[in-house]
Symmetry: C2
Subunit: 660 residues, 2 copies
């Protein structure tokens, strides 16, 4: 039987394969990309403040909050945190650099990361993107140096992800030319607001704007909530208290009791109210206006996704270095115990996660570049902006889910030692846990991705609520949806280059052919998208309530969105690898890319079999190939994690990774 | 097309189905079983000490450790923690009661649970099971009241799961008739030892016994490590410091520097050293002796498995109650947002976990009963004891992995609110995380399960190390292994009662027929076990190193063990449900049992398709059936979690489950 030796995994690699010799420095250069200098600046800062990793454990919550604030202010002085702001206000004028800096910060204490995100990303980003020159002049210089701290008061207790439904109201008072801001209803207080409990002097507050008795939808206002550290009259703040992690960030709840702010407090980039109480906006459709405002905040999502991916790297460095030192049980020798990473199961558990981390790293590079291009004006059309929003949402979801999973697996792979706080997993797990639900709940984000896909980012996009989207897709017809989404065309093109042609490509192409791997990912996306469109149409044709239809096909919607983002991630990795010059580095990255692609197909092999794209024989062959790829990665796995360039001070874990 | 409406999930349930009306009190009686009174005593104690859930957050680590100690001592006074010890020493004389008490304690703070486990289970259990009357007389009375605290010093830094390889040595000194205990080698210090850092006066120390220059393997000794709170000479203790969770337990490292203990300090139930230095044991084979000693400690595993399952219940109560209160986004109505649990995806995410919790609850009841019977002497043959050890290992692994997964999913299902410590998930996640690696790493435990299965718990079992096991199985032949394991016979019997007979049962039987579900689980187990035996034999036949063979098939070994335990769990649930009188409770439990069985098949449907036991059509039908079962469980899900009887004080989470 041909599989005899293969089944015990003892087959030899094809003779053409020669184990690559990885140049770690060159790998780091490749991974760091354009912003290598920025990343190194952050690495230096992280090392300088490495004591904070211990302080997170030893300080009281109040002490630690103050310590984190101090570190943020001091890092701001190095220019590290202000790279995305215009130079005329003291910033660095480079959005791509600011993303690179933020991502790298995720190697360290994540309270620092999140406080930086709140201050410069959310608060600062809202002032920059939603405000106009007077706001910039007034607020940017002091917020860039972190001399003035602010918060971003969007989420309410009663409305986590449904921002359009929030209950805070800002009413224009014509007599005094002020807005009166009020928390209306039981759970309409702001909640989980970072910087609110202690440090913020200012807040960007999202509220339903009412002018002349008419509601104009959600708008943002700058509101002073503290004066010299004391909460001002008309504002009540409660501390959110102890959290699972990120206890260096002071999250709080805020209630507004008729506090008054001047008319100019409205961040008026997209809409304004004249002194005489006339509401004006260039964007007529309120839904579109809302999504345009929200869309400017996309940078936060790009940053959180990158942060999650880099936090996963820290966990992988520790677990893989430990697996290369730790021996457990006699296995192949009676005299010496076996290295953990010489167990096939241990390779299986860690290497697909390592490969996926690489894949997500390069996908993140693509979305960060798009962000830079769109916000620097290189790419300015509306469709590019919407594609960016979709890609940012999708990468954030996959990146943060990956972080949760990889960190947990790495912690378990370190046994009982992984449970000691000195070994980093305590903080990594607790601090990143919320990444999957903040800056947009991942499930909700994937729904946005699906909506964009289904409607081809149509100009109607922003006009569509859930009901409208369902009706729109049903009206369009399945074929049109698929054609507009464009996957079908990509798929056809690829099948042309594979052996077997239209019918047999999935059986005859080589498993390690990237065209085959991409065709599989594209087939899944195309098929799932078509399934959603068909189901939506059928529901509407059967006179069902559009909301009920959506609710019933929700899991297919999420599945299609996920398949789409997985395809984008794989494409990013394949393209990056293809572009490399021949050599050992390319061989090494090809191993990772193949492992990522095939372990992805393996994980979803039930679906591929159900849909006739995988025979059980080929499915088992993929499983064997994954194991073989793991064995090939085994000798270079230490180099592959060293390439991440995680500062050794950020690893701690002396007993796991070896003393320093 | 027949599936048209099914695909949008709109098909009606068959007319024979009537929604059950769940009697919560009756459900609680059913779940509490024989030891309802014991469980209620613990519930009362938990409510009385409920402030400890907050104290875990507000106290310093030292304060909290002392607080937990105090609670343990006070709970001991109620008789709750001593139920497993003989009545003549002040215990309750009922091992089953002690397991029930321990499991119930897992509804509360888990530092208390683990400290109870260390003191009464590990330390007390070792004195009871490995010691003889003089040890019982000297130690049991004070340890049952927790007046004397002890620790269980087995694990070493260098040897987590490989106890046989540990490096502490106890040498018999004939001149003084003492043992000299010494930490030999760099990583041979004891580590992660609960109670060691502060509270233990005594330690049961596992060490390699050397008598007259000969090593006799691992034995246990009682060693005084503190005198009036001060560490004695010859012992060095370091605090393990901050941990991910369980910070109310004082874990530490211990080094022994030639400390001397009297000859009678050897816990001599299974082996002794005479004053003149002769080693004596009724069990001749050293390997068998070692496993016999370890086997007496099985109660700890039974307890941890039960603790994990009950911790998962707490998370499910909170997430399901929240899903029944929280509305998010307009879906079926334009005026009101939809309840989370009216989204199909939300049902899908929580209800299979609920069903699995029920399944594991009843599987745990079976193993706890076996433990009681074996240790009370009702069942005393060696095979029953080994089956118990195997079942305890398997249930512990599945129960604790389930806890990790269920708690994480429930936390995410509560969005950002799940991240606040007041809502319990912080403690549940951090405290239970180590359950998968302590009291035996889950992966190692499943290897033990596989070893037992493959060798039919043969008397040779204890003689076999990894090498021996591989050779034994290879020598036995595949058919003999399968016949001895007995699954094949069970499978044949079941296929007789299913329509379709030998060839078509997997296509023609109804999905909701428990015989079909069991046949699928048994087929998988049988096939996987055969695959492992075949691979081991092939490796040996090809003259491979037995250890290398084992390492290569390790994932198959784990898979077979897992399939075995999954079958036992499903059997326990099916049998429990079958035995119920007809009525609403039976209907409700049948829904859960079907959901558990089918979502288990669904999760592994790729394997079933690869092995010809599932067509893609039937696979999709199972997915639809799972969704349908979820919809049927929706109206009764609140009752199903109320039946767990988690004291309301243990839920906290006022904003999630409603104020009290």
């Amino acid at each position: 039987m041909a599989t005899d030796t293969a089944e015990t995994g003892a087959e030899a690699s094809p003779p053409t394969y020669a184990q690559p010799d990885v140049d770690v420095a060159a790998l780091k250069v490749l991974l760091d990309g354009k912003y290598a200098a920025v990343r190194d600046l952050v690495r230096t800062n992280l090392a300088a403040y490495s004591s904070i990793l211990e302080e997170a454990e030893t300080m009281t919550r109040d002490e630690f909050r103050d310590r984190v604030k101090k570190v943020v202010v001091e890092m701001a002085a190095t220019g590290q945190t202000g790279m995305g702001f215009p130079e005329e206000y003291g910033g660095g004028g480079d959005i791509g650099a600011s993303v690179a800096a933020f991502e790298t910060l995720a190697f360290g204490d994540l309270s620092v990361l999140v406080k930086v995100g709140v201050q410069f990303g959310l608060f600062g980003g809202a002032i920059l993107q939603l405000g106009t020159k007077p706001h910039h002049d007034e607020y940017l210089p002091d917020l860039i140096t972190a001399q003035t701290m602010g918060c971003f008061a969007m989420t309410e207790t009663g409305h986590g992800s449904n921002v359009q439904a929030l209950g805070t109201v800002a009413t224009y008072d014509l007599a005094t030319q002020e807005f009166v801001i009020e928390t209306r209803g039981e759970e309409a207080n702001k909640d989980y607001i970072g910087n609110a409990a202690q440090h913020a002097e200012l807040a960007v507050v999202f509220a339903q704007l009412e002018v002349g008795g008419k509601s104009e939808g959600v708008h943002a206002f700058v509101v002073r909530i503290r004066e010299n550290g004391e909460v001002v009259a008309g504002v009540r703040i409660e501390d959110d208290g102890q959290k699972m992690g990120l206890n260096g960030v002071d999250n709080g709840k805020i209630w507004f009791d008729g506090i008054r702010v001047p008319r100019t407090a409205l961040l008026n980039q997209f809409a304004d109210v004249t002194p005489s109480g006339v509401y004006e906006s260039d964007i007529e459709n309120p839904n579109k206006r809302f999504f345009t405002m929200l869309g400017t905040l996309v940078q936060g999502r790009v940053c959180v996704g990158g942060g999650g991916i880099n936090a996963a790297k820290v966990a992988l460095v520790i677990a893989i270095k430990y697996g290369l030192r730790r021996r457990q049980f006699e296995a192949t020798s009676e005299d010496q115990e076996e290295l953990l990473l010489d167990y096939g199961m241990h390779q299986r558990r860690l290497f697909p996660l390592l490969a996926r981390t690489y894949a997500l790293h390069f996908a993140q590079e693509v979305v960060a570049t798009q962000l830079h291009d769109v916000f620097s004006g290189t790419l300015s059309d509306a469709k590019a902006r919407r594609e960016l929003e979709s890609r940012a949402a999708g990468t954030k979801a996959l990146g943060t889910w990956h972080a949760t999973r990889a960190i947990q697996e790495c912690r378990e792979a370190c046994g009982g030692a992984g449970y000691l706080s000195v070994n980093r997993f305590t903080a990594l797990k607790a601090d990143t846990d919320v990444f999957t639900t903040f800056e947009g709940d991942n499930t909700v984000l994937l729904q946005l991705v699906a909506k964009g896909l289904l409607t081809d980012y149509a100009s109607e996009f922003e006009d569509l609520d859930q009901f409208g989207m369902v009706r729109y897709v049903a009206g369009l017809g399945v074929e049109t949806v698929l054609e507009k989404a464009g996957v079908h065309k990509l798929l056809e093109r690829i099948k042309d280059v594979l052996p077997g042609g239209d019918e047999g490509w999935d059986q005859e192409a080589g498993l390690l052919d990237p065209e085959y791997q991409l065709a599989m990912y594209r087939f899944r996306e195309d098929h799932m998208l078509g399934g959603v469109a068909r189901r939506l149409k059928r529901g509407i044709d059967n006179d069902m309530n559009p909301g009920a239809v959506f609710s019933l096909v929700q899991d297919h919607v999420i599945g299609a969105a996920r398949a789409h983002v997985e395809r984008l991630v794989l494409e990013a990795f394949v393209e990056k690898t293809r572009a490399l010059p021949n050599g050992d580095l390319k061989v090494a990255l090809n191993l990772l890319c193949d492992l990522h692609a095939l372990s992805g197909i393996e994980a979803d092999r039930a679906w591929f079999m159900e849909h006739g794209r995988l025979t059980s024989t080929r499915s088992k062959a993929i499983t064997r190939e994954v194991a073989d790829l793991c064995r090939k990665i085994r000798p270079i796995c230490g180099d592959l994690v060293d390439g991440f360039g995680v500062p050794v001070e950020m690893l701690r874990s002396p007993a796991l990774v070896g003393g320093r």
